[in-house]
């Protein structure tokens, strides 16, 4: 018999239905089914995992056999780990029924998606495509102490993309909405034309010449900044392993006093979790509070390893069948008191970056990079020429000090975050003014 200090089982099953249209034709539509159970055992010196493709959770004999397989793996580990005692459960569970959406025939959703895509067919648009997806996922969790919980969450999204063409020049734009719960495509029909118009405008935009300059981040790219620059470096595993520039900085000033950054899995955003992948109750964690490093995000293991007073558990997330990792959920910069006009005026000469094409960070070096969909030059305190293919990079510890103004209105954007596993997240911010940023671009303006 193997030594088992703790075990839990996380069984995730679900259905994903998607529709893809291309130039107003349904390319494909269909559903796939998945079910994976992860058996996790903490032995004397580390973790053992066994993943089964699908199981009957009432089959005790089978579950016992899988636990023993995970226990046998745990016996091979040689790094002692403890787990902190923390509140389990889902104290603020959100009932996000999507019954009506599930009952709507796929044909009707496909017709709406075609309408949405069709509205992007405006002059100079040579190609359009759209995708709709709805995922219904059940999680059943139980541990060796008799605790059990379950949840059902629906996630829905659509994307629309448009390619504009004028002579040899081509530009592309895309828009996306992703929510927890139902999403009615009818309400988003104007997104097609909005997406297409932006793609056409990009044909006239200029590539910016890079350099150090002041920058204003819109809520979408400000959210990516919060996620990439601060969120990843505040994850408890990076802190425990000494590969975060924010490790050891609790209580220290790491940014301007205007900066408060929060991660909240219980928030009703795309990263919502009723309880985390360890069955732990979720809630908001203030990572940076008024410029001071305040808390880290933790799993039960990293909380025990880094210190019970260093942050909150409840931030473990996992793909179906994969081991829980410390992850962000809904991450945002808290609102300030500046108006948009005040921020642009204060910047005077720089760039306004809008929308996100994604980003990446090396938390150990403290270096991050992200790319905007487009932007505008700021001249004499006003927005001027449109720019494209513009990116921003920086050192986490420098840039946080460069935040001079935060706007009054925050917006959240949804997407996926990859860290070996891909999980749904949202991030957001108000408009944020940086007194200096390293802006990248290969153009001349």
């Amino acid at each position: 018999m193997e030594t088992i200090r703790y075990y839990d089982i996380r069984y995730v099953r679900g259905t994903v239905t998607s529709i893809q249209t291309e130039n107003r034709v349904i390319e494909n539509a269909g559903s796939s089914f998945y079910g994976k159970a992860l058996f996790r055992v903490l032995g004397e010196n580390g973790w053992g995992y066994y993943c089964a493709s699908s199981i009957d959770m009432d089959d005790k004999k089978l579950k016992d056999a899988c636990i023993q397989k995970a226990a046998a793996s745990a016996r091979l580990a040689g790094v002692h780990a403890d787990i902190a005692d923390v509140p389990l459960g889902s104290p603020r569970s959100w009932v996000c029924s999507a019954k009506e959406q599930a009952e709507t025939p796929l044909e009707e959703k496909a017709a709406q998606l075609l309408l949405l895509e069709g509205s992007a067919k405006i002059p100079e648009i040579c190609s359009t495509s759209a995708r709709y997806s709805e995922q219904y996922q059940d999680v059943i969790f139980e541990d060796c102490n008799g605790y059990s919980s379950s949840s059902s969450v629906c996630r829905t999204l659509f994307t629309i993309s448009a390619v504009a063409n004028r002579g040899a020049d081509m530009q592309m734009n895309y828009e996306q909405e992703a929510v927890v719960g139902p999403l009615s495509l009818k309400e988003y029909l104007p997104y097609g034309e909005k997406c297409a118009k932006r793609a056409v405008e990009l044909l006239d935009a200029s590539a910016v010449s890079g350099g150090r300059m002041p920058a204003v981040l819109d809520p979408a790219i400000g959210g990516v900044f919060a996620h990439e620059a601060v969120g990843h470096a505040s994850e408890g595993d990076a802190v425990r392993d000494g590969v975060s520039v924010l490790a050891g900085k609790l209580g220290e000033r790491v940014g301007s006093s205007l900066v408060t950054i929060i991660d909240d899995p219980s928030m009703h955003g795309y990263g919502y979790e009723p309880f985390d992948a360890e069955g732990v109750a979720c809630g908001p964690t203030e990572l940076i509070k008024n410029g001071i490093m305040h808390k880290y995000m933790h799993s039960r293991e990293t909380l025990a390893a880094v210190g019970l007073d260093t942050g909150d558990a409840g931030h473990a997330r996992a793909e179906p069948g994969m081991q829980p990792l410390v992850r962000m959920s809904n991450t945002y910069i808290k609102e300030g008191d500046a108006s948009y006009d005040e921020i642009i005026a204060e910047c005077r000469k720089g760039v306004l970056l809008i929308g996100s094409r994604g980003g990446q960070v090396d938390p150990g070096r403290g270096a991050f990079q992200f790319n905007a969909k487009y932007g505008y030059l700021i001249e004499n305190g006003e927005t001027a020429k449109m720019i494209r293919d513009v990116s921003l990079s920086g050192d986490i510890l420098s840039v946080l000090h460069n935040i001079a103004l935060c706007g009054k209105e925050r917006k959240m954007s949804s997407g996926m975050c990859g860290k070996g596993q891909s999980v749904p997240v949202s991030d957001g911010a108000p408009h944020v003014y940086l007194t200096e940023a390293l802006v990248g671009g290969g153009g001349n303006v």
Partner: protein, 430 residues
């Protein structure tokens, strides 16, 4: 699931559809993860996935599952979804049975999914890492897998591919400088764990105390990693037949035209001896063959699967891969780039081993603006000084149009065998 069950699925589907196809993957894998120079966790996984497509009146329906017991649900869903899809113009049908070319599967019988073998490779990585003791190894990992992939359809195709794999990765930190390396292969004797460990700690150690860079144009050498993740990834998108058909490629309508420098040729060689994913048939059963995509700068072909080839009134080039929802997607098997070969590090250059944010490049236009990592000024093949921080900007297609030099030595990735590349006069922002 036994092969008898695949026949059962096909028999069931044929009652309702004109054609049916089953792609099935069975696999077993084990992963060892390391922290504090010891194994911190062991992960074992066994399972199977089934991906289905049915065709009714030239309409394709798709489905997939990781729960083999639900295959009947999948067939029913695929049949329903076929009703919704538009008929594929010129649909030529799933591939028919054909003679497969000679060649081995990407399978090594010496790969056993056992913790002892994984632990041995982990220890060998650690031994290599110890050559640069100032760096601290943060994490490391070794995964081993074996399995089979079966493609079968109602046109009598029934091919089986045995697969195996080892993947290794490690990351290290030295002060505020990080390094990592990884490798994967179907064959044990093609990975060098000691070298991966040594490279990891070398990059972390050597990148310390970087200097600031003046903003201006420099001659730049991209490592194999950067060529693969930035140059070849964006090129691949542009020659993907689906993107071409839908107007999302800068190469639309340019077959037969000069699109790259006359000294540059790019081809896909599925059974390239140096490659890591030998494929005699693709994931829908089309027999693969070499494909010249750009020959001496002239665009000569796009990559297609059966569906996109039907739409383009041509034949599949055998580049179908399988997505989780059952649909196919197009991807190369083993891209090779040919260009003037030289000692790319001989003249002074900025060597860029890695970039942060390669995936944020503009996949349509080829524009990129990314942060460098593990970058050095180099002279006569030697690193002179590390770079603290810089961004590089450019356009992938302009780079390939302007002419480049490549190294003789290559590194193998999943989907390509890649040299270093020297690019003259690239914008660097310090």
């Amino acid at each position: 699931m036994s092969e008898l069950d695949i026949d059962r699925i096909i028999s069931y589907g044929e009652k309702f559809a004109d054609e049916i196809e089953v792609f099935m993957l069975d696999y077993t894998d084990i992963s060892l993860e390391q922290r504090e120079m010891a194994v911190s966790s062991v992960f074992e996984h066994a399972g199977s996935s089934i991906y289905l497509r049915v065709v009714k009146d030239n309409r394709i329906g798709i489905s997939g599952t990781s729960d083999a017991a639900r295959w009947k649900d999948c067939v029913d869903v695929a049949l329903s979804s076929a009703k919704l899809s538009e008929p594929v113009p010129g649909w030529t049908g799933f591939p028919a049975k054909a003679a497969l070319p000679d060649g081995r599967d990407p399978f090594d019988p010496d790969i056993t999914v056992t913790p002892d073998l994984a632990a041995e490779y982990l220890e060998r990585m650690n031994a290599g890492a110890a050559k640069h003791p100032e760096a601290r190894v943060v994490t490391g990992g070794v995964s081993l897998s074996t399995g089979t992939a079966v493609i079968a359809n109602s046109n009598d195709v029934h091919y089986t591919r045995q697969i195996s794999g080892i993947s290794l990765g490690m990351d290290a930190i030295c002060e505020n400088s990080t390094g990592y390396d990884y490798d994967s292969s179907p064959f044990l004797d093609r990975v060098d764990p000691e070298k991966i460990g040594e490279e990891t700690t070398f990059w972390a150690t050597a990148s310390r105390n970087g200097a600031n860079v003046e903003t201006k144009k420099y001659d730049v050498v991209f490592s194999e990693h950067v060529v693969a993740s930035l140059i070849l990834d964006l090129f691949t998108e542009a020659v993907n037949g689906k993107n071409v058909l839908s107007g999302k490629s800068v190469f639309v309508g340019k077959l037969g035209e000069d699109v790259l420098h006359p000294s540059v040729s790019i081809s896909d060689v599925p059974m390239d001896p140096a490659g890591s994913a030998w494929k005699r048939f693709d994931s829908e059963g089309t027999v693969t063959s070499d494909l010249s995509i750009v020959q001496n700068g002239v665009l000569s072909a796009f990559m297609y699967d059966v569906k996109t080839a039907s739409q383009a009134k041509t034949t599949s080039t055998g580049h179908a891969h399988r997505a989780g929802n059952g649909a196919t997607y197009i991807h190369p098997h083993c891209l090779r780039i040919a260009a003037p070969v030289s000692d790319v590090m001989d003249k002074p250059c900025l060597f860029v081993r890695e970039v942060i944010g390669a995936h944020t490049a503009n996949s349509l236009t080829g524009e990129f603006s990314v942060e460098v990592a593990n970058a050095f000024f180099a002279e006569s093949g030697k690193f002179v000084s590390p770079v603290k921080k810089a961004m590089i900007s450019g356009n992938v297609f302009d780079i390939l149009r302007s002419g480049v030099h490549i190294s003789a030595e290559t590194k193998t990735f999943d989907g390509s065998v890649v040299p270093k590349m020297r690019i003259d006069s690239m914008q660097v922002i310090g």
